[in-house]
């Protein structure tokens, strides 16, 4: 076992250390970490660290702590938390760990052997912070291989187990029992969408259209379109010249991709062909076009044909619907984020209400799909990481 952060030793041993909700030592530590992550050189190399640093600023931390407070109960840390973040999203482990630490929990985070790039920069930053010794004793990040014995022991130790990484990971980890009083917080396979109002697009001026596509490009390309909240299918909503809107959208997208200098490697380009041809072969798509190696555009036969699998970086199936409400029957519990452009708040409100919680957890503007929030996947994370004691006198 490799200790990436924290004191090496028995992870499940009882501890004398006690942290509180919003413990000043943790707040201080996270604020210092934020400063390290926000240094211009680092943020330039790994733009996602910029967003993470922003999330960890003192003002944000205070807001998160405030969300944990209640008038009707005393709020305490949940206890011990075992985190199993996704293998390869370099920053997500910090978000869930940081919120849990802020709630005063003792945490063990299992870091994938595949973690690289931005994750390494994060460990450097974590280990460089001048911290109270209690931090290293209560917050540990470790890497170990496929060792069921360790996973089982940590599962028995935890009051809360946080499992990311999709359905298969959740099923595999759940073979290891928790204590009767403990529970799981799971982040299974998710699909996310983009919705674009055709009349809204028409009404927007060129600058607004370009800004929208820039936001969409960040949402889609930052994690190779594979983050759970990355938009996959684009729904064109409403009536008008759909082809013209789509053409302009794709032209602008290619422009942004060019400006950023993003590339798609050969294997990914082949991957996209395999999936795109697969959708054509089964009749789900009627047109497949490759305006550029970095963009694969497909025309779906209907909004009921949307693929829920990842197709590749820069693969955009397009479907049409008359109104947002027409999408409601197609949305499922697997669906997480809908990023939007060109709709009125009333239209979005009506859509959210009609969904009725049966699908879609987040409705956000283009450019915000990847922005992590304390409410995620339908959970109020600060509430999940704490426990309540009521006192009647």
């Amino acid at each position: 076992m490799i200790f990436r952060f924290g004191v090496a030793g028995d992870l499940t041993a009882p501890s004398e250390d006690r942290l509180t909700v919003g413990d000043p030592r943790i707040v201080d530590f996270l604020a210092k970490l934020a400063r390290k992550l926000l240094t211009p050189a680092l943020a330039r190399r790994h733009p996602e660290l910029g967003s993470l640093g922003y999330f960890l600023r003192p003002a944000e931390l205070r807001r998160a702590v405030a969300r944990m407070q209640r008038d009707d109960a005393l709020v305490f840390p949940r206890g011990t938390v075992f985190h199993l973040p996704p293998a390869n999203v370099d920053t997500i482990f910090v978000y869930s760990w940081a919120l849990s630490a802020l709630a005063g929990n003792h945490n063990v985070v299992r870091i994938s052997t595949r973690a690289a790039g931005a994750a390494e920069a994060i460990f450097d930053a974590l280990n460089a912070v001048d911290a109270d010794p209690v931090i290293a004793r209560t917050q540990r990040m470790v890497t170990y291989g496929r060792d069921d014995a360790i996973t089982a022991a940590l599962s028995r130790w935890a009051d809360l187990r946080v499992i990311w990484g999709g359905d298969a990971a959740v099923d595999a980890i759940r073979r290891h029992p928790l204590r009767p009083s403990a529970r799981d917080l799971t982040f299974p396979d998710r699909t996310s969408w983009a919705v674009l109002s055709v009349p809204g697009w028409r009404a927007a001026d060129p600058a607004a259209r370009r800004a929208a596509v820039t936001g969409f490009a960040n949402d889609a390309y930052w994690f190779d379109q594979a983050a759970c909240s990355s938009p996959r299918t684009v729904f064109l909503i409403g009536d008008g010249d759909l082809d013209a809107v789509r053409r302009e959208f794709l032209d602008l997208l290619l422009d942004v991709v060019d400006q950023r200098g993003w590339t798609v490697d050969a294997a990914m380009a082949v991957e996209k062909r395999v999936h795109a041809y697969g959708l054509a072969a089964t009749g789900a798509a009627t047109a497949v076009s490759f305006p550029d190696n970095r963009i694969t555009a497909l025309t779906l036969t209907g909004s009921d044909q949307v693929p829920r699998r990842w197709i590749g970086a820069g693969a955009f199936p397009f479907a049409h619907a008359g109104s947002l409400l027409d999408l409601v029957p197609a949305m499922t519990r697997q669906d997480q984020t809908v990023s939007h452009f060109g709709f009125t708040p009333a239209e979005l409100g009506e859509f959210a209400t009609a969904l009725g919680g049966r699908g879609v957890d987040r409705i956000v503007p283009f450019g915000s799909a990847l922005t992590f929030g304390a409410i995620w996947d339908g959970y109020d994370l600060p509430a999940e990481f704490t426990r309540l004691t009521t006192l009647q006198t």
């Binding site: 496929r146 699909t191 190779d224 082949v270 395999v274 041809y277 089964t282």
Partner: protein
């Protein structure tokens, strides 16, 4: 009779109408294939490079066949890197034709008569259903071109020196055929012949399989050839082929160092950025073209192998001279969703 006869211009003139007809044939008989071509807007091709190619991996995810179910005579499978399996459907005519063309291709270097054959493999491998699909099919397919077969490895996969010696005592003074996977030949034949002074000078070696293990040991194709020459083995023919284009093999010429296309097949190297055909000297993805696939739409396939054409009509045989450079490294997307299946 050689199947390596056509200069490039003549070959393209012969192949283009046949492949255009095949494309029409498969569109008419394989609905998913027709849908793919319709969705990508394909009408017709003015030259070989404009023919619509399918990624070879598509045979792992889709059932693609141009024959009715009751005419399926054989289903070939290949194990893939991701655990998915390609399924190739042959009817009786296609199965016979691929065997006939394979025979014609290897007879170019073996002559018309069946030769005594040393198989650098273990018979036990045929029993293992898992490895059978890939390795076993290769060995079985090639074994029909030899006689008096002897396995160079025993049932536990160890070198059977007595068997090899027995084979050479009986057949070593006349031409004989050696077949095996490249890495096994290196490890279990070359090194044994070197250490025990075996005389392989009448052998004709046909070998295939990835070079990766050998490259890891710093053995290049040129080094492989020259070291084999050191044990007398100078008739050495590497080949490149795949189950998705069964019956078509691209064979190393007598001068060594490059593969050639039989008259009914060709290769195109594509730029993975622009997908345009690349000129000789520029490495890219290998597209394999063959007129043999009549029962499934596998006549124009984009492989995930990298290769380079060295020259055209300038080698021992006419047509394109090319090398396989290795596998395209697989991309890993970064994501938290269903692309990641790490269990614990």
């Amino acid at each position: 009779m050689s199947v390596f006869t056509l200069p490039q211009v003549d070959k393209e003139a012969v192949l283009l109408p046949q492949l255009a007809d095949l494309t029409k044939h498969h569109r008419a008989n394989c609905e998913p294939y027709d849908r793919i071509l319709a969705a990508s807007g394909f009408a017709e091709a003015a030259d070989l490079s404009a023919l619509p190619w399918l990624p070879v991996r598509l045979f792992k995810t889709l059932e693609l066949k141009s024959i009715p179910d009751d005419e399926v005579f054989k289903v070939l499978t290949s194990s893939g890197t991701t655990g998915d399996v390609s399924r190739i459907y042959l009817d009786k005519a296609a199965a016979a034709e691929q065997q006939r063309r394979l025979a014609a291709t290897v007879q170019t270097v073996l002559g018309p008569k069946r030769l005594p054959m040393l198989l650098v493999d273990t018979k036990a491998m045929l029993k293992d259903r898992r490895s059978f699909s890939a390795r076993g099919a290769g060995v079985l397919g090639m074994s029909t071109f030899g006689r008096d077969h002897v396995w160079a490895l025993d049932l536990d996969g160890r070198v059977d020196l007595a068997a090899i010696r027995g084979f050479l005592d009986q057949h070593g003074d006349q031409p004989f055929l050696i077949f095996g996977f490249t890495f096994l030949v290196w490890l279990h034949l070359y090194e044994v012949a070197r250490d025990h002074g075996l005389d392989l000078s009448n052998g004709i070696l046909i070998h295939s399989g990835g070079w990766k293990k050998l490259v890891d040991q710093a053995v290049s194709p040129a080094e492989f050839r020259s070291r084999l020459a050191g044990v007398g083995l100078t008739a050495v023919h590497n080949y490149y082929g795949m189950v998705e284009q069964i019956g078509t093999i691209f064979l190393e010429g007598p001068d060594g160092g490059a593969l050639y296309c039989p008259d009914f097949a060709d290769v195109i190297i594509r730029d993975p950025e622009t997908w345009a055909e690349l000129p000789p000297g520029k490495p890219g993805l290998i597209e394999v073209i063959s007129t043999l696939p009549t029962s499934y739409p596998g006549h124009v396939l984009l492989t995930e192998d990298l290769g380079v054409v060295h020259g055209i009509d300038d080698g021992a045989w006419p047509g394109k001279r090319f090398s396989v450079l290795g596998r395209l490294p697989r991309a890993e997307a970064r994501g938290c969703s269903d692309t990641y299946r790490e269990a614990s």
